[in-house]
Amino acid sequence: MFKLGLIINPIAGMGGSVGLKGTDGKETLGLAIQKGAIPSSPERAALALNKLIKVSNQFKLITCPGVMGEDIARKCRLDCDILSMALEGNTNSKDTRNAANLLFKQSVDLLLFVGGDGTARDLALVIGEKQLSLGVPAGVKIHSSVFALSPLYAAEITESLIRGRKTRPRLAEVMDIDEEAFRAGEVRARLFGYLQIPGVDRGLQVLKAGSSSLEIVKQQAIASFFAEEMNPDLLYLIGPGTTTRELLRKIGHEGSLLGIDALKDGAIIGQDLNESQCLELLDKYNPGQARIVVTPIGGQGFIFGRGNQQLSPRVIRRVAPDGIIIVSTPDKLQALQGRPFRIDTGDPELDFKLAGVYHVLTGYRESTYYRIEN
């Protein structure tokens, strides 16, 4: 029988209801409660669970005790097994991680979690690419691609899996923003990791074109062409992302998904590099002999400044603009719906300089020219 895991982050979204732009951290939660915030994620969870009642004889629900699942499951009259974990006072991210770990050990077929970007981050830390998961959006911030469009869509996708639908899972980005900066009016989303989500092509936060489950094939097509065109005399700094990871896989290397790897003549000469390591390497090469390979991160299409801050202004200046190679699947471009790529290196002058039209590798012997705006 299908095993459905459920984690509810009961405080997700509370900050938003009282204008706090997030609920991460103990102090913010205290402030939210003080301002009269009411938990909204249990309601969002109930919206999804109520839709699953009609298939309740086809799945076994496993969830956390109390406010993290059990209460709502009972309210929806769904039988469930309760994880053996103790909750004390207000729940926190440790509880989410603990629950995710326990559900993974129970080999659930799908882990449904109700929360926001912060909750997704916790899951990415613990189960990441190992466990099929899906987010029910309930947080203040939803920048990650791991959420369904709404609780009803989450229920629709879950129901189809319970009914036996097979999908090819894919990795989706977990993004989160710096809440303090966000509260000060500045949006700075970062790439934190990846979760494995169902390969469905409707009902998810980030619109995907065609069959998302085939995105890997498109990434491999880009990788094949990149491998053919690679110049052994050049240094390539490969940025984070699943598309760029395929470039390295194509030539037999396992790249660091979230880091910067250096490639020369088909060999990895540096992994998970920080800014100074990148600069050190660049010192060894003449101008024009190095390339930075990046892919847009997240649904907002950031080329620099989100998830690849190691590629600092100082690093980029050594290579830009001619040495910037952008790779992107057509799906990612199409999800932007005409919006340009964006950059936010932290150096406004550089951002201004980098704005323009760039060549983007999109497939095997296939490319486009696309705008970068700051």
Binding site: S150, E366, T368
Partner: protein
């Protein structure tokens, strides 16, 4: 709204639960019993099967269904009742396909023994009538496009693109540019076959996206893309979003300045007949789909014909044969005399029924009639555009407040956000009204897309009926979304949740043999 109520509110589609024909097979049952060979003939000819080379003989009989004529007739008639088609509903929801009325009198010409009984291997002296039709149709198409010669060889639109890129390839190679000109530029809203064929012919492909505000191809990106490496530009105007690119000559001029060729995809020419021509926009090549604009039905309605036109400097590359006229002897002939021809790309010399329909259609309308076709199709389109934009949940991305040419790609994204009913839900619900809508082909840049192409064929009453159906579905989405979500109710097949059988190669069963190999019962996967 002011639209009239739809007439078919009692619609219910015939439902036969008809099995696949193989499941109706009864061993030994036959539609036709062939007579025994008479002994005298057998004595004279012997057993002719013995004459066949062993390698050409089957080791076992083919797996064909065995059934009587009457059962076969019933089977297909039932299936035909479980269908929709251009002659059966208001088919404007099949945008980009130009689903318009194909005058039935043209079928009489095509089915006439004068056409139907011709054999392509007949001596051309006995084919003067049909060759004259081809020759004259070419003159019409030359006049419509401004091109200098037209080839009828390609069998459909993508085949025409193959012919065009083959010509470009041959031209590049013949001019010693093989190593320098290795890129073809196209646009994201042009036909996907542009990319496929360009790669097939050894070119790299550069795809230009649309400007998010104007909907025209982004000219700055285009400028960055054009270089000495550019062999050709393959472009459509208007593209599938129905927006006319009035700067088209800037595009062709830039490519020419870098020594490349320009090809105009005129598969959807319905809105520009008699208004603009490929020649005046400086194109070197173009193609028309006779099976869309010029009478023959499109969309599995029968064989097509994608005719290719070129300017003088490329005539020698055209696929052969063409039909020429010898004034001295006053006869038409199949002309193979083209020094750089890309050769034959199809058997014989053209898809005759489609050419005959096109000839009859053009003759019946005349030059003024063709212009009227364009005007009415544009008028109908903009009427529908205005009415749909007045409805909740419908948007038409790009080119805000501009009129469009012959079609518009709309979006139900707003409807989806506000009601959770998206395009797929509307698509299923519309079946309950005996109508049809589709979500167009890639790219899915416009979310929850649908393309409406009203053509010149439909009356205001029919357009209003279709609009009333859409309006009712939208009303249901906002008030009782479950009605839309659980549809259809009056159609052959009930709710299909996902198109997983198309998305997952592991589940594909494109032949009966493949289906039997992979599935038990009705799509129940074998272990």
């Amino acid at each position: 709204m002011g639209t009239t109520a739809y007439d078919n509110n009692e619609f219910h589609q015939a439902r036969w639960n008809e099995p696949v024909i193989y499941e109706l097979s009864t061993p030994g049952e036959r539609g036709i019993f062939l007579p025994e060979v008479e002994p005298e003939i057998e004595d004279l000819a012997g057993n002719v099967l013995d004459e066949l080379p062993a390698g050409m003989c089957r080791s076992k009989s083919p797996e064909l269904p065995e059934m009587s004529q009457m059962r076969a007739l019933k089977h297909y008639l039932r299936l035909s009742q479980e269908n929709l088609g251009a002659d059966f509903n208001v088919d404007i929801g099949q945008g980009t396909c130009t689903m318009k009325y194909s005058p039935k009198v043209n079928e009489l010409f095509v089915r006439s023994p004068k056409i139907a009984d011709l054999h392509p291997l007949q001596d051309e002296s006995t084919l003067q009538g049909v060759l004259e039709i081809m020759y004259k149709t070419e003159q019409f198409l030359k006049s419509i496009s401004g091109m200098d010669r037209i080839s009828f060889q390609p069998g459909a639109g993508s085949h025409a693109i193959l012919a065009i890129v083959s010509i470009i390839r041959a031209w590049v190679d013949a001019n010693g540019l093989t190593d320098t000109k290795d890129e073809i530029i196209t646009t994201i809203f042009s036909h996907p076959s542009n990319c496929a064929v360009a790669k097939l012919k050894g070119f790299k492909v550069v795809n230009i996206y649309a400007d998010p505000v104007t909907g025209r191809p982004d000219f700055e990106a285009f400028k960055a893309a054009v270089s000495e490496r550019t062999a050709a530009l393959l472009i459509t105007n208007p593209e599938d979003v129905g927006i006319y690119n009035e700067r088209i000559q800037d595009f062709t001029d830039l490519v020419h300045a870098h020594g490349g060729l320009c090809s105009y995809d005129q598969a959807n020419a319905n809105g520009i007949l008699g208004v603009t021509r490929a020649k005046e926009a400086n194109f070197d090549l173009c193609f028309f789909n006779l099976h869309k604009t010029f009478s023959s039905p499109h969309g599995c309605g029968g064989p097509g014909s994608g005719v290719v036109g070129v300017r003088d400097r490329l005539i020698q590359y055209l696929p052969v044969p063409l039909v020429s006229f010898d004034e001295k002897t006053d006869h038409y002939y199949l002309d193979y005399n083209f020094s750089k021809t890309i050769g034959k790309i199809k058997d014989f010399y053209g898809v005759i029924p489609v050419i005959v329909r096109a000839y009859a259609w053009i003759m019946s309308l005349g030059a003024r009639g063709l212009l009227e076709v364009a005007r009415v199709s544009v008028l109908n389109n903009n009427y529908v555009l205005k009415k749909l934009l007045d409805m909740r949940g419908v948007t038409a991305p790009y080119a805000d407040r501009e009129t469009r040419i012959e079609q518009v790609r709309f979006s139900f994204q707003k409807l989806k956000e506000e009601t959770s009913c998206g395009f797929g839900d509307v698509q299923r619900r519309i079946c309950d009204f005996g109508c049809h809508i589709w979500n167009s082909h890639e790219p899915f840049i416009i979310p929850e897309p649908f393309t409406i192409e009203p053509t010149e064929s439909y009356s205001k009453k029919e357009l209003d009926e279709y609009l009333a159906v859409i309006e009712q579905i939208i009303e249901e989405a906002y008030t009782e979304p479950d009605i839309v979500k659980n549809a259809p109710y009056n159609s052959v097949v009930h709710h299909i949740a996902e198109h997983k059988y198309l998305d997952e190669p592991d589940l594909w069963a494109i032949t009966w043999r493949m289906y039997k190999k992979r599935y038990n019962d009705y799509f129940k996967k074998k272990a």
